[in-house]
């Protein structure tokens, strides 16, 4: 039949086309150095507002003072690490240590990523209850009494136990292990995204309902809602080494900056500036609140902060 000839022709045609395409070009540009050495600095922006504040302020100063071109690219922490490795992104300004495996591989083994010091902001993760609930039941702030309140935290999703509301899957958490090892009558319920978690918290607060949640500082919502932390067994060095056996609180994490290795080599003043970038938790919270609480654009908020805090950022300039 003729259709067979069509098929043969099509197959032969595509084979020829494929060979032409292959032979026409040599090894592809891996892109590793294209952005690092170029004049555009790409900063990864994770999905939380504090990180948006870092990036917006860094962008503003880099562009206004150092004449660099800056591109902010939205992506989650693990993806950003891959991008940092390949050179698609030059800087992560706020790393919570959520991907230790990647950190080890890229910083120590492949040496494609370089640690660039503290951001100056200290992050802390913990279990929190709303202040109105803690005021009525002061002993809830000790983990030993949590089982007493498990009934009050119960929801349809928590399978007969008390609900511990969790956030986005990309955030660092040991909560399942902690619950198991401390023998608590609780169950983690993953909201699945920070947006869903915050919406749920706001709703509980409006109705003055009791709840227990995985939460952290700095967070812009802390300016609107008063949380009280539940004390877990104290953190000691190495108590969270085995993820299965964790039975202690989260450490205070000085948030870290990381840069692409090629960018550090060729990035000149921009790279030096990002290494120097260092501000306090209060300063970051201020900008974050302007953005999330007062509805300013991150650009305007950064411009406002830069104008009011010249003495702080002048020290960052190389």
């Amino acid at each position: 039949m003729h259709s067979k000839r069509i098929r043969t022709t099509l197959a032969a045609g595509s084979a020829v086309l494929g060979m032409v395409a292959l032979s026409a070009c040599g090894a592809a540009d891996t892109g590793a150095s294209s952005s690092g050495g170029g004049d555009t600095v790409t900063i990864a922006v994770p999905s939380w507002v504090g990180a948006e504040a870092n990036a917006a302020v860094a962008k503003h100063i880099l562009e206004e003072e150092l004449g660099a071109k800056v591109k902010l690219q939205q992506m989650d922490e693990p993806v950003a690490w891959d991008a940092l490795d390949s050179g698609k992104v030059d800087a992560i300004l706020e790393d919570w240590g959520g991907v230790p495996k990647k950190e080890k591989r890229y910083v120590e083994e492949r040496e494609t990523v370089v640690a660039a010091g503290d951001l100056g902001v200290t992050g802390h993760i913990g279990w929190f209850v709303p202040k109105y609930f803690a005021d009525e039941n002061p002993d809830v702030t000790d983990w030993k009494n949590l089982n007493k309140y498990a009934d009050e935290f119960k929801t349809t999703e928590s399978g007969g136990k008390g609900q511990l509301l969790e956030g986005s899957p990309s955030y660092t958490t040991n909560d399942d292990a902690i619950i198991k090892n401390l023998d608590l009558d609780l169950k983690t319920v993953y909201a699945g995204s920070e947006a869903a978690q915050i919406t749920q918290i706001k709703k509980y607060v409006k109705e003055k309902k009791p709840f227990l949640t995985y939460w952290w500082t700095p967070q812009w919502l802390n300016a609107e809602i008063d949380f009280v932390e539940v004390k877990l067994p104290e953190y000691t060095e190495g108590c969270d080494a085995d993820p299965e056996k964790v039975a202690c609180a989260y450490p205070n994490t000085p948030l870290q900056k990381y840069l692409n290795a090629d960018f550090v080599k060729d990035g000149g003043d921009a790279a030096q500036f990002l290494k120097n970038f260092n501000w306090s938790t209060e300063q970051q919270n201020q900008v974050a609140k302007w953005i999330a609480g007062d509805g300013m654009s991150s650009k305007d908020a950064a411009a406002k902060w830069v104008e009011e805090n010249k003495s702080t950022w002048e020290k960052w300039l190389p």
Binding site: M1, H2, S3, R5, I6, R7, T9, L22, C25, A27, A28, D29, T30, G31, A32, A44, S47, W48, E52, Q73, Q74, M75, D76, E77, P78, V79, W81, D82, A83, D85, S86, K88, V89, G98, V99, K102, R105, T155, T156, E157, S168, P169, S170, V189, Y190, A191, G192, S193, E194, A195, A196, Q197, I198, T199, Q200, K202, K203, K206, A292, G295
Partner: protein
């Protein structure tokens, strides 16, 4: 032994003997409608062909008897070896470790292995330069030039004259772009448009090529069909991560993921069009001495044009539905705006880019639909000479608009011409969530419903499934599949379920299955009811049409926050999100099916004095059976597609695993959960759909 009922279509034509009855009027009529207005699902036309076949073969009772005998022998044996609880550990295989090893290998070899240097990196570099090129062009044209160009394109598609269709299509384009500018989203909209232009072009080309292969060769068709199914049911979240590893973050991965998701409708409809060509026309062409090539080019392809255009339309819609997802891996554009707004829990701000995406969808949909409508209408074809002069004039108009606009008003949309939606929208959303949550007399409120639904429907269903012995569920799957299908469908259903167990995802998947089943029921009952209503009452149809348009094209991420505010974090919220997404397709397919039932039969029933209810029960619904089956099928596909979104609002289970896999870069977890979702899709398809015709042969 087979007394095959006369099927409304015979979807698997003999080789070389094209079947003219395939899809009587179905695909053809949707092609003439205006995209989301008339066409239900984001294109799974391939499913249509499977559905229209009636169950052939032996009566189900006899097959079930055989199954019971088999079960009597096999089950005590299996139960004694592996126990009767959850899926036995002995039959679980570790698929995660090899995947994680693959992940490590990819990272280590990304810059040195030939596979990357000589192949994959070329693809990603070309993708980047193509998108950058289009973006530069759009930016160079300036906002006046782009708006004029879009309107001119729409006008051409509508017939390039002063008729109503051409002018209305052009006005839609003009309005869409004006609103995008007004919402202060011009720059991100252009980024999205550039990515979409390249993605649509690539998806259409690849889809057409695959469709050509599937349309001309039965072997290709058989080979490609499961591939297309997997491409569409596999959640994009699950394969974004491997693509990030293979092609790097940003544009290339986003582009390739979009193309994979969007190419199947083009391929399916191209194949359908080629197979559906009128044999008389082909006969005539052959008798005139045309060889196979000439016949393909002069008869088969032109005859398939309308279907291919519908395929293009569906491909565009599916590309647009990926916009928000693509920004998870750094593609930028409108999706980025949605995400940034969501991180601040600001629905009003997220709505703006959502509206922009809907408007781009409407513009492209109306444009392709107008082109489709023009194919039907053969009167007064413009002469070739005139067409060229019109084209030249339009090009000159766009160039002039671009130059004049750039000079007078700048290339960026003027900032003073923008409005801010976010404050009023947020006020409205807050009011709704405050007042509908609880405390409404008699009916309670959304939170109360949500809790009762979880307590009385979801929990028992989940616990029942998870508590049932593993062999019982396998047996149930086989029995259900046998009721409507053949031994082959039953085997596939059982294999799909067993694969889930073997991957070690048994309890998690059953949790998801319980949610999917509940979501299906909640979607199908109102969906079919509204569909029937819309088919019988014209004003209802007109009233819900724009609502359905928005429900289908609005990115789901935008309604996540209101859904959580109304229903609390949890499985009910996930199910509501799924229902919102799947309902429009079910309504549309039902309405169309009921509307298209044979008017003669209806007339006969009416003249015999049948009441409205009787007409519906005895004539319209039975005749609309294929459409109803398609509605079920689409319900399954769409509900499964949204399982991952459910993971973002507390649905947990497989959806959460997929999100976790992507966000934590755990290839093993994300990909296996994605595969389990595909298996659930196969299982549900086999137990709800009558046997495919391929099994009849």
């Amino acid at each position: 032994m087979t007394t095959a009922t006369p099927a409304p279509s015979s979807p698997a034509p003999e080789p070389g003997k094209p079947d003219k009855t395939a899809e009587p009027g179905k695909a053809a009529s949707t092609a003439s409608g205006s995209g989301p207005d008339r066409e239900g699902p984001p294109g799974r036309p391939g499913a249509l062909r499977r559905l229209t076949a009636r169950t052939p073969g032996r009566p189900p009772a006899r097959r079930l008897l055989v199954l019971a005998l088999l079960a009597l022998v096999a089950i005590p044996l299996a139960a004694s070896v592996w126990g009767s609880g959850s899926w036995p550990d002995a039959l679980t295989y570790d698929v995660r470790s090899p995947l994680d090893e693959l992940d490590a290998w990819l990272v280590d070899n990304r810059e040195s292995h030939w596979l990357f240097l000589y192949f994959l990196l070329h693809i990603s570099n070309n993708a980047v330069s193509a998108v950058d090129g289009v973006l530069a062009l759009l930016q160079g044209l300036g906002w006046t030039g782009v708006t004029a160009g879009a309107a001119a394109l729409a006008w051409f598609a509508g017939g390039a004259d002063l008729g109503r269709r051409a002018l209305r299509t052009a006005a839609t384009a003009l309005g869409a772009f004006a609103v995008i500018g007004l919402l202060d989203l011009w720059a991100p909209a252009m980024e999205t448009l550039a990515l979409m232009a390249v993605a649509v072009a690539a998806a259409a080309l690849i889809g057409a090529a695959l469709g050509l292969a599937a349309g001309l060769s039965d072997r290709c068709e058989r080979l490609l069909r499961p591939v297309f199914d997997t491409m569409q049911v596999m959640p994009a979240f699950a394969y974004l991560l491997p693509f990030v590893l293979l092609f790097g973050i940003g544009t290339p991965s986003a582009l390739i993921a979009t193309v994979i998701y969007a190419a199947p409708p083009m391929a399916r409809l191209t194949s359908l069009g080629l197979r559906g060509a009128d044999p008389a026309a082909l006969e005539a062409s052959a008798s005139l001495g045309a060889n196979a090539w000439q016949r393909l080019l002069t008869a088969r392809l032109p005859l398939a044009r309308r279907q291919m255009l519908l395929g293009l339309n569906q491909t565009i819609m599916m590309c647009l539905s990926m916009v928000v997802l693509a920004s998870v891996i750094g593609a930028g554009g409108l999706g980025d705006e949605v995400f940034t707004a969501l991180s601040r829990v600001d629905v009003g701000q997220a709505l703006g880019p959502g509206i922009a995406i809907v408007l781009i969808a409407i513009w492209l949909d109306r444009t392709t639909a107008a082109a489709g409508a023009r194919l039907d209408d053969t009167s007064a074809p413009a002469s070739r000479g005139r067409a060229w002069s019109v084209r030249a004039a339009a090009a000159a108009f766009v160039a002039a608009a671009s130059a004049a606009g750039s000079a007078a008003l700048g290339r960026q949309w003027p900032e003073q011409w923008t409005v801010d939606l976010s404050a009023p929208v947020n006020t409205a959303v807050d009011w709704i969530t405050d007042n509908l949550g609880s405390g409404i007399p008699l009916i309670g409120g959304t939170v109360t419903w949500s809790e009762n639904f979880a307590r009385w429907v979801l929990n028992p269903l989940r616990d029942g499934l998870q508590g049932a012995p593993w062999w019982l569920l396998l047996l149930a799957a086989a029995a259900l599949a046998l009721l409507t299908g053949t031994w082959r469908t039953a085997t596939t259903a059982v294999a799909a379920l067993a694969a889930i167990g073997a991957m070690g995802l048994w309890p998690t998947s059953l949790n998801t299955l319980s949610q999917v089943l509940a979501a299906l029921v909640v979607t199908l009952l109102p969906g079919v009811a509204i569909g029937v209503l819309a088919a019988r009452v014209p004003w209802v149809d007109r009233a819900i049409r724009p609502v359905l348009d928005v429900m289908q094209t609005m990115p789901q991420f935008i309604y996540l926050i209101p859904v959580v505010a109304l229903f609390n974090v949890g499985r009910t919220a996930a199910i509501i999100a799924a229902v919102v997404y799947a309902l429009p397709a079910v309504i549309r397919i039902t309405a169309q099916g009921v509307r298209e039932t044979d008017p003669g039969a209806l007339e006969a029933a009416r003249s015999m004095g049948a009441s409205t209810g009787q007409q519906l029960r005895h004539v319209q619904l039975p005749l609309a059976r294929p459409a109803l089956l398609l509605a079920v099928n689409q319900g399954v596909v769409l509900v499964l597609a949204i399982v991952v979104i459910g993971g973002l609002v507390g649905g947990g289970a497989l959806g959460y695993d997929v999100v976790y896999g992507l966000q934590k870069s755990e290839l093993g977890i994300g990909l296996t959960a994605g595969a389990a979702i595909v298996c659930l899709g196969v299982l549900l398809d086999r137990v709800t759909q009558p046997a495919a015709t391929r099994d009849r042969r």
